[in-house]
Structures are given as C-alpha cells and as structure tokens.
Amino acid sequence: MFFPVNFNLADNVATLSSIERSILKALAMDDLVTIEKLAQATGLEPDQIRRGIEWLKFKGLISVVENSTFVYSLTQDGLAAAEHGLPERRLLNAVSAGRLTIADVLASGVLQEQEINAAIANAKRNRWIEFTKNVSGSIIKPSISSTQSPEEKLLQKLAQGNLEHSMLSEQEKTALDLLRKRPGYIVGKEIKTTKVSLSESGKRLGLSLDSQPQDHEEEERRLSPELITSGRWRQTKLSHIDVQAPVPSLFLGRTHPLTDIINEVKEIFIGLGFSEIDGPIIQSSFWNFDALFTPQDHPAREMQDTFYLSGQKMQIDATQDLILNISKVHEDNWGYTWNKDEAKLAVLRTHTTPITLKYLADSKPDSARIFSIGRVFRNEKVSFKHLVEFHQVEGVVAAPNVTLRDLMGLQKEFYSRMGIKKVKFWPTFFPYTEPSLQSMIYNERLGKWVELFGMGIFRPEVTRPLQIKNRVLAWGGGLERIAMLRFGLDDVRDLYSNKLSWLRSVPKCQL
C-alpha cells in the first residue's frame, strides 16, 4: 500500500506548478466538479488536468470522488424504431388503416412475425387497441386515444443524443426499464466520472494562493528533452505520480478472431507436412457435383440447398475425355442419361472439395499432402446454427498405401494440436467417399460430444475418371464450429456481426 505524504504548506507552497495553481483556484470558486468542468474553467487540456489532480491528490490538497453513472444510447435497431415507430405503434397504424386481424397486419408487412406478440402486449398495455370477437374470430379495434407512450417519448429523446441515467425523470426511468427489456434497442454503458474537491488543507491554501508569486521555480513533472540535453535534470527533482491511476483505453488494430483460428489451423497443417491450395468460389456444377459422383437428380443439387447464379452457365474446365469419363460413370452406376447442360450451371461452391479434386486431376501427384481453407455456401435459412456462407477446412492425403486407420490417426493428431484430446469415430455416409467416418469430440464447456469433421477415402468412381491412381484420404468440416467452441459462442452469427465490443475484447491468447 502506498500512503501519500502530507503536503507541508509552509515549505512547499512555492513549488506548486501553474497547472496545480489553476486547478486549486478553479476549485476555490466551484467545488466538487468533474475533470471536464475543470478543463473548461481553467482552459487547460483534460490530460493536464488529470496530471495535476494526481499531483494534488498526492500532496493531500484535494480529494477525489470516483462515481459511476450509466449512459444510454440507441443501437441501429433503436434508431430505426425511433424513425419508423415501435412495433406497437406500427400495429396501431396498421389497425387504424383498416387491417383488423393479426393475419391481415402480418400480410401488410409492417411487422415481422416475431414482433407481433410484443406489439399486441404493448399496444394493449398502452390502451391503444382492444380485441373483440365477431363471427369470423377475433378482430382488433383501435381505441380512441393513442397518445405517445412514455417509451416513445424516451426513444425520441435518445434519438437526439445519449442520455445519462441521473438526468432522467422517474417516468423516463420506468420507460427506460421497459425499453431495455426488449432486446436490441438500447445499450447502456457505465461511465466512470471523477469529481474533485478541495481537502481541508487545500481550502486553507486556496486563500493564500493569490499572494504567492506566479512563476516560482518548479518541481518538474515531466522529463523533457530540454532537461536532458541541458543537464538541468541533475538539479531538478522529478515529482512522484500516482502509478495506480487509471489511464485512457487504447483500441489496437487486430486480426479477426476467426482469422486467428484460420492461422492456427494452417500452422497445424504445415507442421504435419501439408501444403495449401486455393481456387475459385464460383464453380461449374461439373466440378462441384458431377466429378464427386453426385447424381444430377440428387436432392443436394436442388435450388433449395445450393446457390446457383441466375442465368449463368460456365465452360467446363476439363478435357473432353474427362467429361466423357465422368458422364459414363454416372450413366453406368446411377442409370440415367447424363446432361452436360446441367453440369455447366454455375454454383457457389458447396464445399472446397472441387478445388482438391481439380488439383489432383491436374497434377496427378504420386503422393501429396494438401489442405485448403475457404468459404463455402449453402442456401439455408440463417439461424443460430446455420450461416449461408462459412469456412470449410479440408485436408487430403494421396499416397499408394494409406489406410482408413491412417486417416483416423491424422484426425486425432490434428485435434490434439488444437487442444482437443477426446475424440471418437462413427461410420457415416458421403456420396463420394467409402468407407466414410465422422468424428466426435468431447467439449468440456458443453459437457457433451460434438460432431466435427467428416472423412473418408475417395470412391473409385471419383478417382478413376480423373485418372488419379493412388488412394486419396480426405477430411473436412466447418471452421466456425471450432471457433464457436473455442470462443464459447452459442450463436454462429456472432462470428460475423463485427461487434466492436466483442472484437476489442476477445483475448488473442486462448489458453
């Protein structure tokens, strides 16, 4: 513990700096003020004030009171609500315009399905609407009065600028609590304020300050270049500062946490002797599906699951022979007439495997270890579990005598280097590998087994048409799943929300 030494009035009054003098004088006029107020009163920079306060506190001339207050501001959704109205207001407007049932209101599009319940509850609480029954069911009627609700008033006020909690009226505080119960409109931030007042000795000194000479020789606060070069530092006493004092926050530039994971995964692959490959996102259906033995009427190829580029066909990037080989494999095994036009449709790749396959078909290596990490796309409804665009990790070993057990071993080693020690394997199915396995890893935080990468040995129907002679082991899966486990996220959308509060706070070291 560090105890400030008491300021000896008689000895040291002369050593007060001009900053300290200004602060003391300002405080004598108006006690218990914030740093900002002091800056205004003295015309000094806030930084200078902060420094001065530390010195004066050290000398026991002032006392510092730390206070915290909450400041509220609107988010993007909150601003939108201020502009277009809260759900209950939009409901009332729709009802007043003659839309009398819930279905009718929803059909008008002014309310999202998930907003409707809250809108009804709030509108009823404000006595804006009432429900009556008629033959066809329940209908909504607007009430006579529809005065602005306290929440709306507060929302409008917040749209003008941030508000401090202490400045709110009781009614506004109630409105604030109600608004904060609805997610996404308002964010509150704790703001620490420092207020300063004179101590007893400070008050005594304040009276005598004016009689003191203004520019007396000072105790130096800062080691300046001039002090060093002139050698004057030898005769100068450097003042003590409060080393415990808080300092301003710095927001550093940094990689996105997902980039950190990507880099970690790349490092592991390279450590295991794998080389990185990459390739285009837009692929022909040929490379995305046909080359992977996925029949042309396979459900995964439907528009409900896969993004096709509207009206875009591509030249198939393959020799005539190769195209013929693939078409024959399809016709012989699946028993249908293979359609080349279907294979030309441009898709946003649904996996990175077409990149792998193209690489193997082009370079036909005797043995190879390759990996890729890239974005892939699925036409899904976005939810806490699903994104339409995510990263896939894929590792591939091509060699004459590699085995399924080797594939399992590589998996285990990969996971172990990611800090995942408990792994088990189950059989599964993929159209283009046989045998196929899926890996399960145990997650301590969730307390359960989680499905991670899938893997298998490429089927001969895949490798033979491309004249790949060796056995090819492949595994892969979504990177976001790993990132969620690592960062303790339960909603995958958080990874792409770019919330600064999160990006600025996730530790780079995830131990």
Binding site: Q76, F251, G253, R254, T255, H256, L258, T259, I270, G271, L272, G273, S275, E276, P280, I281, I282, D297, M303, F307, L309, S310, G311, Q312, M314, T337, A346, S367, A368, R369, F377, N379, V382, V388, N401, T403, L404, R405, D406, M408, G409, Q411, K412, F425, W426, P427, F429, E434, P435, S436, I457, R459, P460, E461, R471, L495, S497, N498, K499, L500
Partner: protein, 572 residues
C-alpha cells in the same frame, strides 16, 4: 437427413435380449445418429443416411442391429410365400405419363397402430428420398380385401372423379389437383391433361398416383391382408422401393406373395428393363412379369484389398465374419477372395469399396486403432495466403481492426444504401431462390460491407477503423473473382487526408511503390473528394470521403473516409 421415430419398447422386442440402453449405445456404429430421446414416451428420434432407405423403419434398424450385436448373422431371413392370383393390367394409355408399376401382396399379418405409423413413415421417407419427392416413384398401400382383381393401371382425363383418402365426397381430378397435396405434386404429372389411376374390376379407385390414394381401400388395424403398388417414371427405383417394403412387411409378420403384371394390347416384345424411356408411339411389350423380384447380387472381394484399405491384417474367414455381422452373405472362395451375397434390399452397395465399409462396420469402428502415417512432404502456405497476410499485418500495424462479412450480400446494402449503380441485368451476379434478401447478390465491393459493420457499432467508442480482406466478384465476358482490401475510418475528424496517409503507407510498406490519386467520380463518395488509385499506370482502386447521404443511409453520425484496392491486380 431423414429421421425415424422409434418406440424403444418395440425395438427391444425386435432385438431380443438387448436393453434399450445397450441398443442406443450401438446405433452410431451402424451409422445412425440419435437426434434426441423423448424420455417421457421412450421414443428415440434416429437420423439415418439417405443411402440406407432400408433404415426408414424400426424393422430395418433392428435387422442391422441384430448383426452388430451378434444376435443373428448373414443375410436376414426372407422367403416369398408363392404366387398370389392378383394381377395388374397395364393399359397402353399410361405410357406417356407415369409408365411403370410394380407391386406385391402381403397376407395373414396383424397391423397395430405403431406398425401402421412405421409403414406410413417409411412410405414418406421413401417418397422423399429415393423417390425424389414422388417424382421418380411413389407407393400406395391398400386393404387387399377391399379390392376385386385384376386392377388396371391407366390414364384418365381431368373430369374423372372418385372419393380421395380421408374424404367422403367424390372429387374430380381437377379438384384434387387444386387441393393442398395436389398443388404440391401436380408438377410431376406435366401438362398433357392425362392422369394415371389404378382401378379395380368394379371400377373402385385404389389410387391417383403420385398424388393420393382412394378412400375405399385404406388400411386400418383390422386389415390382415395388404396390397402394395409402386408407380414410377424409373423402373429401377420402383423395384428398389418394393424390395425394401417386401422385407419390412415380412419382418412385420406378413407372408409376401408375388403378383403378375401384364401389358395389354401390345404385340412387339422389347426388354421391359431398358432404363431409357421408350420413344413415344413405340409399341410396348405384351409381356407378363412377376414381381417383386428379390434376386440377390454377388460380388467378389479381395481380402488383401480390404486389409490394405482399412489398415488391418484380417484373415479371409475374419473378413467373411465381419460381412456377416453386416447382414450380408459371405463365403471364403479361393485365393484370398470372398464371395459376397448382397440381399436385394441393400441398394446402397454398388462397388467392392462399399463392402470394405461393411467389413469396417462388422469389425466395429470402435475397434479400429488410429495410426499416424509418416510425413513424406514439407508443407507450405499458398503464395496467395502469404500475400494476404502481408496486407493484413500491415493494416493492423496502421491501427485497423479486421472485420469479416459475407461475400453474398443484399441488394439493399450493396446498391441502395451505398448508392452504387446496379449492374445491367446480364452483368448481375445474383443467386437463384435465396431464402433471405440479405443474401442475394455477390458483392462487387467491400465498402458497403464495411459501412454495414460501422453501422452496427454506432454506440461504440470512436475512432473506429476497420478493414476487410475478401473476395469481390465482377462479370465481364466471364466471371472474375478478385481479392480486395477495403478500409474505413470513422470519427469526428475523419477525412480524405487520413485515408490517403494509410493508403500511401500500405503501398510503400508492402510494395515499395508510391501511389497516385487522380480525381474521379463515384456515387458512394463526395464529389471533389474522390479519387482513383493508380499504381504503375493502372487503376487499382478508389479512395474518398463517403458522401453524407450514404453515411446517413447507414445510420451513422460520424464522417467516414474509405479506400479499396483490388489486390489481385497487385499480386499477379
């Protein structure tokens, strides 16, 4: 993936001697995932892979479990109980619609509520999976005793009427096609105005495939005898489905009998199994076939091949035993090979590698010890990812925070809010049938995405400096994908000069090149404060102060300056 709900008590009965807990433990090792267990009603929700439609009922799951758990080995017992005297007549009028039909007769069984539920669930799964949402094939299950044979499969007009399943009112085909189920599947039947029906000797309608059955032949728990028909546009699929139904009804305790199918009114004989549809107007064979055909397939596999793929050293008899645990027939033949017999319902086995997986499953995946192959190569990053890292670390050095967003974006963000010109129709890179307006076009620029990121952080402390490295897309004669870096600076004093300082530092530090900026126009930026970025005489990007109306569109209250560079032009 398809899911089947299984009552655990029933499964215990079907897998004798094993308790539910033991059974649940074993499920993943025949490639079944447990989605959830309803503890109250003791029902397990089991997910199976689409290559195994025989898992679409608890009977099929029990069949495989008994193998893995050592209760039964080899091909599951199945016997046809002779010929029924039921007959299906195929009228030539059907040829241009849904031309194939097969079926079977199942007798002397008992249907309780749960068995009926399993059968109907299986029927739906088969429809959706190998039936490709009923397009390729669909199934009708009927009360045999309500039918007077022979039945005729023929095409009728839209005025034809009958009482559909679950209704008491006679409806025309036209009306049925306007019902909910009709609307869902009518596309399958095309626009020719001819519709397939199955009617019996008394003109009772059994079915209007693939839409709905007739009400007269519906099954309930009092049914002892069943008639199953499968109509199809693809004969192989129809027969695959029929085989799965046959073994399932057999396991449910029915005697399965064949029936005959005759094409009427035709002379010329032709192979009925030709996979290609016959050309229109061509005569169909007047051929009588007997179905179901439950022929087994024989495949020879090499023991060395099995061991080399799995990394094991099993003897021929051990491999055979593993196959038998997977409910296949296996006999050791000469020279380290095994003659494997595949029952008709295992439609997933196409190639010897499929049998290798069956060996692994029979062996028990939990018994496979992982091994680590020695590394034969030295790994390295791709040149591209090394380059992108250089840009990334430089931007971070300049104090920027990395943002990541989707390459598939919304028209609103990309064009409307950013006030960019929408590309001409043939140059647009829009996706077909997106599920949300937030993901409908491939982005051409990163700046709208970055503005979007700023927009989500209006309540956070400023200055905010963000950058993103990602792909952007452009259609010229062909589609181009470029790597791009975009940066935004937002705070009370953000201006062109600050953005240009960062750009200049980036170019000098990464490439040792000085940058030239030439006045330009860009709708996202303020006129007179916008420039093209030029390096070595080529335009590589844009820089400027974002126009206040764009700032306002994104609900920002701070000035923003930004730049974007096409990195693919810099790293050839």
């Amino acid at each position: 993936m398809p899911v089947v709900d299984v009552v655990l008590k029933r499964l215990e009965r079907l897998v004798p001697g094993k308790k539910a807990a033991e059974i649940i433990e074993a499920l993943p090792f025949i490639a079944l995932d447990i989605e959830g267990i309803d503890e109250q009603n003791k029902i397990a929700r089991i997910e199976y892979n689409p290559n195994r439609p025989d898992f679409s009922s608890d009977y099929g799951i029990a069949r495989a479990l008994k193998g893995l758990l050592g209760i039964e080995k080899g091909i599951p017992s199945f016997k046809l109980a002779g010929k029924s005297n039921c007959k299906i007549l195929v009228d030539p009028s059907i040829r241009s619609t849904r031309q194939y039909i097969v079926g079977l007769v199942a007798k002397n069984g008992n249907l309780d509520d749960e068995t009926i539920r399993q059968l109907i669930a299986m029927q739906e799964d088969l429809h959706n999976g190998i039936g490709r949402r009923r397009r390729k094939a669909s199934i009708g299950i009927h009360n045999l005793d309500a039918i007077s044979f022979p039945v005729t499969y023929k095409a009728v007009g839209s005025e034809f009427s009958f009482i559909p399943l679950g209704s008491s009112i006679r409806q025309t085909i036209e009306q049925i096609l306007e019902s909910e189920i009709g609307k869902r599947y009518r596309y399958i039947l095309g626009t020719e105005g001819r519709y397939p029906v199955i009617i019996d000797r008394n003109n009772t309608v059994l079915s209007f495939p693939p839409i709905i059955n007739g009400n007269a032949t519906k099954i309930d728990t009092s049914c002892k005898n069943i008639f199953v028909e499968v109509t199809a546009t693809d004969l192989k699929t129809a027969e695959d489905m029929l085989a799965i139904i046959a073994v399932t009804l057999y396991d449910a305790g029915f005697d399965i009998q064949t029936l005959s199918i005759s094409n009427v009114g035709q002379q010329k004989s032709q192979d009925r199994n030709s996979k290609k549809p016959l050309p229109k107007g061509d005569a169909r064979p007047s051929l009588t076939t007997t179905v179901p055909r439950m022929q087994q397939k024989v495949m020879i596999i090499d023991v060395k091949q099995v061991n080399s793929m799995l990394g094991l050293r099993l003897s021929a008899s051990q491999v055979a035993s593993c196959l038998e645990k997977s409910r296949l027939g296996a006999k050791v033949a000469k020279k380290d090979t095994i003659r494997c017999i595949i029952p008709r319902y295992r439609i997933d086995i196409m190639h010897p590698v499929d049998l290798v997986e069956e060996v692994a499953i029979g062996f028990g995946v939990y018994n496979l010890e992982p091994t680590l192959p020695a590394a034969a190569a030295v790994g390295h990053r791709s040149q591209l990812s090394v380059h992108m890292d250089i840009i990334r670390s430089t931007m971070i050095g300049a104090g920027f925070l990395e943002s990541l967003s989707s390459g598939l974006s919304g028209r609103k963000v990309q064009y409307e809010l950013a006030e960019r010109k929408t590309p001409e129709e043939d140059k647009a890179l829009a996706v077909h049938s997106p599920k949300s307006v937030e993901h409908e076009v491939l982005r051409e620029s990163l700046i709208p995405s970055l503005m979007q990121s700023l927009s989500g952080n209006v309540h956070e402390e400023y200055p905010q400096k963000l950058f993103e490295i990602g792909k952007v897309f452009k259609k010229k004669d062909v589609i181009h994908e470029y790597y791009s870096v975009g940066a935004v600076v937002a705070h009370a004093e953000a201006d062109y000069t600050e953005a240009k300082s960062v750009l200049q530092a980036l170019m000098e530090l990464c490439f040792g090149k000085s940058v030239t900026t030439v006045p330009a126009k860009d709708p996202t930026f303020i006129e007179g404060r916008t420039a093209q970025i030029i390096i070595d005489d080529s335009i590589i990007g844009v820089i400027g102060e974002v126009s206040p109306s764009v700032v306002e569109n994104f609900k920002l209250r701070m000035p923003v300056s930004a730049f974007e560079i096409n990195l693919s032009l810099l790293f050839p």
